[in-house]
């Protein structure tokens, strides 16, 4: 058997394991009411290096899994609404900055406490940043509090939170390439990433409806899908020349195209296409890391502190910032609790760090624990804080209050 054939067979083995075993676990976890991504991770843990060692990991499987993540980000962008996103930038930008910074800094401190170098601590911080709000939303809908002020704030922050986490992660990956930790470099990359992201979204959104209108006139099969995926791929390729991860472009392209005609069908197509490969990705992350050695009491303080930091970061950041801009204390706590759950992003960050040799496998296990524990604890916590205390109907930010007092 020659090399290519062998790679193809391993690819089919990986996909079949992902779509059969991974999906069985996903189904199980959905029924338990936790994010299905945990199912993929468990399947990966069992089939991967930690236990059975059946899951094939090679370049082809990894390439397809990264392709899956970029499609997943593209899809997330398509499902977000450009107008709502832009509307939320000033409104919830302040709280987002506060909670992201606080989650990151607390992670950084935890890293330093365990004697990690700055670059390793940076990634510990990154793991703790991104909120995956879907579980909070589900719980809020269940108790019918999604339309409250706090519920809307959680939604608004969540959209911006993704971008902030993405930028921190992208800046981190560039650090991983150079291997040195330099604050100025870091800031430069972060600012470039942010600028590229913003300009791209803005410019592409301007021309997106023209592109879509031209595409629909084509006589080829699935013209709109082909044109969009083509544009996305080209942009992802071009990031090679500016030294910024293609992941940032994936989300930007999705958001820019989120208001074209017929976006719903395109989003569905992208979702179908992303599904097998993103499942593959999360299984690869769990399968490629040997966790046998890190499941030990020796690391218990680290895991405990990481999980605690995951809660504290959002509680301090989200709570304090929203309190400072004028939310009553109980509202501020409600907002903070809604931001607790972590999911996909946490795993992506940990995997990048471990895979590039910056962090070792205990960080990855810590990420899994964070996802697991935040997702189990958040629903009861949300119910506790939202169902007690008065309902808030309207909140005026502090900076607008002064002018109101003039009329008194």
């Amino acid at each position: 058997m020659n090399g290519i054939e062998e790679l193809i067979y391993s690819m089919f083995l990986a996909l079949s394991l992902a779509l059969i075993v991974g999906k069985v676990f996903e189904e199980l976890f959905v029924r338990l009411g936790v994010p299905p991504v945990l199912g993929d991770l468990l399947a990966g843990l069992i089939l991967g290096k930690t236990l059975v060692n059946l899951f094939p990991i090679n370049d082809v499987v990894e390439v397809f899994s990264w392709f899956g993540v970029s499609l997943l980000l593209f899809y997330a962008g398509l499902e977000t609404r450009y107008r709502e996103f832009m509307k939320h930038v000033p409104e919830y930008g302040v709280i987002t900055c506060g909670e992201v910074l606080s989650a990151f800094v607390i992670g950084y401190i935890v890293g330093t406490l365990f004697g990690y170098s700055p670059i390793r601590s940076y990634f510990i911080g990154t793991i703790l940043v991104a909120t995956s709000v879907s579980l909070s939303v589900r719980t809020l809908i269940e108790i019918d509090k999604l339309t409250t002020v706090e519920g809307r704030t959680v939604l608004g922050i969540a959209v911006l939170d993704d971008l902030a986490a993405l930028i921190i992660l992208v800046a981190g990956t560039s650090l991983a390439v150079t291997g040195s930790f330099n604050i100025m470099d870091l800031l430069r990359i972060a600012v470039t990433a942010f600028a590229v992201w913003f300009i791209l979204v803005f410019a592409l959104h301007k021309v997106s409806s023209h592109i879509a209108r031209l595409a629909i006139k084509l006589h080829i099969e699935e013209p709109l899908f082909a044109v969009l995926l083509g544009t996305f791929s080209l942009l992802a390729y071009l990031t090679k020349f500016i030294g910024i991860s293609y992941l940032i472009v994936a989300y930007a392209a999705g958001l820019a195209f989120s208001e074209i005609r017929g976006v719903r069908r395109i989003a569905e197509s992208v979702r179908s296409m992303a599904m097998p490969f993103s499942t593959l990705f999360f299984m690869v992350t769990a399968a490629s890391i040997d966790l046998k050695t890190v499941i030990s009491f020796q690391y218990l303080p680290f895991y405990a502190l990481m999980v605690l930091a995951a809660f504290m970061g959002k509680l301090l950041g989200g709570g304090l910032t929203s309190y400072l801009i004028g939310y009553p204390p109980y509202s501020a706590i409600r907002v903070a609790v809604g931001l607790f759950p972590r999911a996909e992003f946490c795993i992506v960050a940990a995997y990048i760090a471990v895979n590039s040799g910056i962090l070792s496998s205990e960080a990855y296990l810590a990420a899994i624990m964070i996802v697991l524990i935040t997702n189990f604890l958040t629903p009861p916590l949300i119910k506790a804080v939202y169902l007690k205390g008065p309902e808030v109907t309207y909140i005026t930010p502090r900076w607008r209050r002064k002018s109101a007092h003039v009329y008194k």
């Binding site: 977000t80 879907s134 608004g156 939170d161 208001e259």
Partner: protein, 171 residues
């Protein structure tokens, strides 16, 4: 039925302008309601109760923003203890289309969160043939008609076009 008269009638209808079609075959077209983006699902349910099967969502300037059909409302109904479908990352924050909610919460969700955004549309001066082409490419059986400024003028369904061909045959 004569194949020749059918093809003649079909060709005539296909070459009609959308503007002429919606004025000539007004009674074949489905009833539709128009709501603002800020409304919630309660309003939609009320309109569906009044036999309006297509609900068009417009912004403050009356421009087309989205569409909701009765199927969209049904798809979100998940019984008393509904479970949600998880979306990756935070995309769920802006769009709740794929989530299932209980019937007592559904009426309070905003129209904007579940509507199909930016549906395909045809302009008044385009032909019925072009309208069918748009339906094919968007995999739907309806298309919204707008004027030059993007204001909603009506809705054409595949069913109405076929009925119009059949009526044309009779005359």
């Amino acid at each position: 039925m004569d194949a020749n008269t059918f093809s003649k009638a079909a060709r005539k209808i296909l070459s009609l302008k959308v503007e002429d079609f919606i004025s000539k075959y007004r009674d074949l077209l489905p009833q539709y309601g128009v709501v603002g983006e800020e409304e919630n699902i309660a309003k939609i349910i009320e309109l569906i109760g009044n036999n309006k099967h297509y609900i068009i969502v417009v912004d403050k300037k009356n421009k087309l923003r989205g569409i909701i059909t009765y199927l969209d409302v049904l798809l979100m109904l998940g019984g008393p203890k509904a479970t949600a479908v998880f979306l990756p990352l935070s995309s769920i924050a802006s769009s709740l289309r794929r989530i299932k909610v209980s019937s007592d919460v559904l009426p309070r969700i905003s129209v904007r969160k579940i509507m199909e955004r930016e549906p395909h549309r045809v302009k008044l001066e385009e032909t019925i043939e072009e309208a069918i082409d748009v339906m094919e490419k968007s995999h739907t059986h309806y298309v919204v008609v707008v004027d030059k400024e993007g204001k909603v003028k009506g809705i054409i369904t595949a069913h109405a076009i076929l009925r119009a061909v059949l009526e044309e045959m009779k005359s």
